[in-house]
């Protein structure tokens, strides 16, 4: 249709799409799905890290971790707001998470078992997320692109903090080094699966690229993350748990071993170590908070009525 052509031309000309602009239903739906998944990931992603706040080993680390988890709550808020600009209420979006209908990043279905996991999440998971998200800062949908600018800035701060934890552990006692290596062993493969299925198995990518929702392929993002992370692991004196990993002079990239996609899809489909618990925690918070939200709403309504009475 002419509308669609005009839309695509504006996209091609790198003019941002704004909430009030006309957009194709497919574009809207793709964005709603992607941004809400991203919002849910931030919100669920608070849980594995929050699990270590009470046990953080120094008060400074505790403060940094609390601030980090709080940032994730903030990211969740921007992103839920960005979804709302597409015409879906935040509660509806959220209820899809609670019912298990909507997805979130599978990485958060792995448990945090030691303090080193907090380092590994910052270093690897946030590192991987940044590689995925930096291109989104230039995405065609204005509210999403702007939210991502802020998110990326904070994430790279978190990534450095995570690396710093790993660095301290890797210079520490034998037990600390072992803890760091164990965390790398457990988080490496899930972190490189975060970029999504291999290109030859990925659906919808072409349309998302045309709409400039996505600008690089999953495999390209993965390669970028691996290339930047391997030297960091070497600097830490830690071994990445992939015997096939080695520098390929010709390609100018690291080669890496096959990813266990069956395991990845199992986790996506609900069979990860913590899927049940993460959803249960979210539902528990929501259900036990119902009386609170209702009361806050009731009070806000009372205030509004009082205002109206005064105005009348």
């Amino acid at each position: 249709s002419p509308q669609e052509r005009a839309f695509q031309e504006r996209i091609n000309a790198s003019i941002k799409v704004e909430p009030k602009d006309w957009m194709p239903e497919g574009y809207r739906k793709t964005l709603i799905r992607q941004i809400s998944q991203h919002a849910h990931s931030e919100y669920v992603g608070m849980l594995p890290e929050a699990n270590w706040i009470s046990r953080a080993p120094t008060l400074q680390r505790k403060a940094i971790l609390m601030a980090k988890v709080q940032d994730e709550a903030g990211h969740g808020l921007y992103l839920y707001s960005a979804v709302e600009t597409l015409g879906v209420t935040r509660d509806d979006t959220y209820l899809d998470l609670l019912s298990g209908k909507a997805k979130y990043s599978s990485i958060f279905n792995y448990p945090t078992l030691t303090w080193a996991d907090i380092g590994a999440i910052g270093w690897l998971v946030d590192g991987s997320a940044i590689v995925n998200q930096v291109p989104i800062c230039r995405c065609s949908y204005g509210p999403y692109a702007r939210a991502m600018v802020r998110v990326c800035k904070e994430e790279s701060f978190h990534q450095r903090q995570g690396f710093e934890i790993m660095h301290t552990l890797s210079r520490g006692t034998a037990a600390q080094k072992a803890m760091a290596q164990d965390a790398l062993n457990r988080w490496w493969w899930p972190s490189i699966a975060m970029h999504g299925p291999a290109d030859d198995q990925s659906v919808n990518s072409a349309q998302s690229m045309a709409w400039k929702i996505k600008s690089q392929t999953n495999d390209a993002l993965r390669q970028k993350f691996i290339d930047q992370t391997v030297p960091q692991a070497e600097f830490l004196g830690l071994t990445i748990p992939d015997p096939d990993l080695k520098w390929n002079e010709e390609r100018g990239h690291y080669d890496y071993g096959p990813i266990d996609w069956e395991d990845f899809f199992n986790v996506v489909r609900g069979k990860g170590p913590c899927n049940q618990e993460r959803l249960a925690a979210r539902n528990k918070a929501w259900n036990e908070g119902a009386w609170f939200r209702e009361a806050m709403q009731a009070y806000a309504d009372q205030q509004e009525q009082t205002e109206e009475l005064k105005a009348a």
């Binding site: 120094t58 008060l59 609390m66």
Partner: protein, 249 residues
């Protein structure tokens, strides 16, 4: 007994223990906005705890820093008020605990802002700004929840009554309080009772909540005799340091 050291531990442990409790809500609050706001309060309190405990370590002069004091004392060496170690309960219990504490904390910090000890005055001046905001926030929640729905009203009234027994310890002057008041280091503990009551009563009034008419009888935290809750809180707090002694983190 170094009374000033004791006083600093009291201030620091209040902040540390309450921050630890609030942080347990992080990611589990009733709404994303609450998660953000409550974690802010927890972070402020943790920052204050670090300043107080660092100063306590200096005052003690045995080379203990904030972490040595936070991670390597057992329960009977903690000097926090009993109210801050009371369980989180439902969110309304947490709000009520915060409100009663904020009101006292705000007034004591205002007093400490003119401490004869410049280091104490400096920390207090910095903290009181944060805590005035904490009080504003918790007072606002008390009013909203007190007036919101019949259920929220009932929950908040019960929460106030549950915690009231713990809301007098801070006005009971002991040797430490008296010495610190005499030297101008701290305001006299009982002198805070009237301003606290005025602040609390005004808010409870607006919240349509009844102010209990009796005086709280629970005490002991200031001399290290706690409730059973503190011990369990410390098992988590101190686990990593205790398990890997001597490591740097």
């Amino acid at each position: 007994m170094n009374t000033q050291l004791e006083y600093l531990l009291r201030m620091g442990d209040n902040c540390l223990v309450l921050s630890q409790q609030l942080a347990a809500w992080c990611g589990h609050g009733p709404a994303l906005e609450e998660d953000l706001a409550l974690t802010n309060v927890a972070l402020d309190l943790l920052g204050q705890a670090r300043m107080w405990l660092t100063l306590a370590g200096e005052e003690e002069g045995k080379g203990r820093d904030e972490d040595a004091l936070a991670y390597f004392r057992d329960g009977n060496e903690f000097r926090n008020l009993l109210i801050v170690e009371q369980p989180n309960g439902h969110y309304g219990n947490t709000v009520a605990r915060q409100f009663l504490f904020d009101a006292w904390h705000m007034h004591v910090l205002a007093g400490l802002s003119t401490s004869s000890d410049a280091r104490i005055a400096e920390i207090a001046q910095k903290s009181v700004k944060e805590v005035r905001y904490h009080f504003e926030r918790s007072a606002g929640l008390m009013v909203a929840l007190g007036r919101g729905t019949p259920e929220s009203h009932a929950r908040m009234q019960a929460a106030v009554e549950l915690l009231w027994p713990y809301a007098n310890e801070w006005f009971e002057s002991d040797a430490v309080d008296e010495a610190c008041a005499a030297s101008g280091v701290a305001p006299a503990a009982p002198s805070l009772a009237a301003p606290w009551r005025a602040s609390v009563e005004a808010v409870l009034d607006r919240a349509t909540l009844k102010m209990p008419s009796y005086i709280g009888h629970q005490r002991g935290g200031k001399r290290g005799v706690h409730t059973e809750h503190l011990g369990h809180l410390l098992t988590d707090l101190q686990f990593v340091q205790r398990t890997y002694p001597g490591a740097q983190w």
